[in-house]
């Protein structure tokens, strides 16, 4: 008979995976919003600081951006909760490295980015690098 995972392990990993899922949805939604707006330089309304009103208004009125920002805010609070039940030395590298791999996959499937071998390798290297940095 297979041994079941202890409940606290299950709870810790579901907290970590929730943080990762919120981070990936947030980043992809924000990236999709920015892709739709195009180069922000083209949206500038004039020279100087006031010229930035155009890009700021465009970004803030994009529904994709607002939902993405909401996901990032929820991600922040989910991370706070996770840190209260999981050690920082596990939570930080686990969420960061899983987010990098998940982002590469989500960028390929949802944003239709050309994730070639070079970019997959980069995602894996970053993932491993983050785990090593946390040691």
């Amino acid at each position: 008979m297979p041994t079941l995972l202890p409940t606290h392990v299950l709870r810790e990993w579901s907290a970590i995976l929730t943080v990762v899922a919120l981070a990936i949805s947030g980043e992809c939604l924000i990236a999709a919003a920015m892709r739709r707006l195009g180069d922000l330089d083209h949206l500038r309304t004039g020279p100087g600081l006031r010229g930035y009103l155009g890009p700021v208004r465009a970004v803030l009125s994009s529904p994709l951006f607002l939902i993405g920002a909401l996901c990032m805010a929820l991600n922040f609070f989910a991370m706070l909760y996770t840190l209260s039940i999981v050690d920082l030395s596990l939570a930080a590298p686990a969420t960061a490295s899983l987010t990098f791999i998940g982002n590469a996959a989500a960028a390929k499937f949802f944003l239709h980015e050309n994730v070639d071998r070079r970019r997959w390798l980069a995602a894996l290297f970053v993932c491993a690098g983050v785990v090593l940095l946390a040691k």
Partner: protein
Amino acid sequence: MTHRLKLSQYAILIAIMLTASVGDTLLSRGMSQVGAVDLHHLHLLWRALFNPFVASGILLLIGFFASYMTALSWADLTFVMPATAFGYVVVALLSRFWLHEHLSLYRWAGIVLIVCAVGFVANGPSLTEHPSGKHSSHPDLDLMDSGAGR
């Protein structure tokens, strides 16, 4: 067309690397001065805003968010991601050379891996080409691009 980046766009990527890492370091330094905050002492968060380290950390993180979104407006998410990861390297190097902490062999190996990752991606194109104007909702801007880039 390989989407070469302009000098100002490289500056934005470098801003992403520096603002996130230095901002986080300043926040952590400031919050250690403020002390532990719990549900019964939430007013400490208000006081934390006036700590110079916390305040400058927040300013830098706002700068990070602005430059991150600017970068996403002209580059792929998978292109910008390794740049944000480079922030971890900056934090590690700051703690080694500014705070004089000891870096283990593992951490040096981690730094090398992330630097390699940035190198891989930086050599490739920054934006995925989609057939005629699919990647932008502004066909007129696409026209302008095709005129300027080729």
